[in-house]
């Protein structure tokens, strides 16, 4: 009798240790973003940092926030060599403007390029707490369309290279941009 009761108690403790599934863990891989890495056109193996790059979605009034601690417009600018941008989960196309040297006092240095990404979507089950995630596959025929910005000042992105058409995680770059 005592043995049975202690067994049941053990069972209960084992149970109580594994019920943490009501909150979606922030480390769970969910909807991935598109990863773009920037390389030096003169030395294609070397990562190159961008200067004050602002990325803004078509039809949006605000850019992607890269620096959450900043309060002024500089929160939309990045000086990194790699960026992650979210694609639309409800449409098969998504257009972004990439503005280099955003906010520079010399307007001649500001250069805008526009890229439209074309892809198909698939919703995958993650867990009870997280729900589903969307994964993307860039179209094989026209994965992206690059155009110059409104100023007709030429593209600052000299080569845009697709390296991974399946966007299922954020572990590696999907695009390489040489400039």
């Amino acid at each position: 009798m005592k043995k049975i009761i202690s067994l049941v108690l053990l069972f209960t403790f084992a149970l109580s240790g594994c019920e943490k599934d009501d909150i979606c863990d922030a480390n769970t891989p969910t909807t991935p973003r598109l990863i773009i890495e920037f390389y030096d056109i003169n030395n294609p193996d070397l990562l190159k940092t961008v200067t004050n790059l602002k990325v803004i979605g078509q039809g949006m009034s605000e850019g992607i926030v890269f620096n959450e601690t900043a309060t002024d417009d500089s929160k939309y600018r990045t000086n990194a060599s790699s960026i992650a941008i979210p694609l639309k989960t409800n449409e098969d196309t998504c257009t972004y403007s990439f503005i280099l040297n955003d906010g520079n006092s010399n307007p001649a240095l500001i250069n805008e390029d526009i890229i439209t990404f074309n892809y198909s979507r698939r919703d995958e089950y993650v867990s009870r707490a997280c729900g589903f995630k969307t994964v993307y596959e860039l179209n094989s025929s026209n994965p992206f369309v690059q155009t110059d910005g409104v100023n007709n000042d030429g593209s600052w992105m000299q080569i845009v290279e697709l390296v991974e058409p399946n966007i299922e995680n954020e572990n590696e770059a999907h695009f390489k941009v040489f400039f």
Partner: protein, 260 residues
């Protein structure tokens, strides 16, 4: 240990009788008189039972889970029934089984899904309670093997996007259904059954379950398994029932009482 169980049982029996009274509005009030438990003190027992012959009745007990049956009245997402039965094999051992059908819609934060199907659980109960006189109460611990066949439907879902730059999307309707699913599990069952009058018993039991097999749809998960209830990340589950049952006596065994 034994005394603790006795007092615990008396207390439970008492509260149970109040519960019954509250539910059926005074039709069962006379029944409190037939409980010798509260009136008899443990010291008085040996005197009382001297030279008595204890009669053990053997038979089949069948009943229904009142909780599942009444849940549909207050929970529009649930419909279900569970029939329970046990057959007394020996002084302490009972063959026991539950048979049920459930249809439950679960609204989680990011998913709404429906699960419906049938299940059967079979095993045994061991009565740890030493009855006085001709009482037939049961405090049991038991083991069951459960099996369920069911189908699930994903009704709607939300996309988890930790970077909602393009805005948070409303839930997407799905309607995708997954049929032919099954699961099996082992459960430890702890229960009480009290004879409230004649051959009517009320009982309560709690169950701890561990999944043995779980045939999931692959691109989805079994979020609710009829009989097993809600699933967690691990293999464990819990459940309970509140039953009323009728005992059908089949034969009797007379046993001389052993004095303690």
């Amino acid at each position: 240990m034994k005394h603790i169980l006795k007092y615990f049982f008396s207390f439970w029996l008492l509260s149970c009788s109040f519960g019954i009274r509250a539910q059926v509005k005074d039709t069962l009030t006379i029944q409190t008189d037939s409980f010798p438990v509260t009136a008899v003190t443990p010291e008085a027992v040996p005197e009382l039972v001297q030279d008595t012959i204890k009669t053990h009745r053997y038979g089949l007990r069948v009943g229904v889970d009142l909780f599942k049956l009444t849940r549909a009245f207050w929970d529009h997402n649930y419909k279900g029934i569970e029939l329970v039965g046990d057959y007394r094999l020996s002084k302490r051992y009972f063959l026991a089984a539950e048979l049920g059908s459930e249809n439950k819609t679960t609204e989680d934060d990011r998913l709404t899904s429906n699960s419906k199907g049938q299940y059967i659980k079979a095993g045994f109960d061991y009565n740890t309670y030493e009855n006085w006189l001709d009482m037939e109460n049961i405090i049991s611990i038991g083991l069951r093997y459960g099996f369920s066949t069911f189908s699930q439907e994903l009704i709607d879902y939300k996309i988890y996007n930790s970077h909602p730059y393009w805005g948070e999307m409303p839930p997407k309707a799905s309607g995708q259904s997954y049929s032919g699913l099954n699961a099996s599990w082992i459960e430890v069952n702890m229960g009480l059954k009290a004879k409230v009058f004649n051959n009517i018993f009320v009982g309560f039991s709690v169950q701890l379950k561990g999944l043995v097999t779980n045939n999931t749809p692959g691109e989805f998960d079994n979020l609710y398994i009829p009989g097993f209830n809600r699933t967690y990340d691990g293999r464990f589950g819990v459940g309970f029932n509140y039953t009323v049952s009728y005992f059908i006596p089949i034969y009797k065994k007379k046993i001389k009482i052993e004095t303690e």
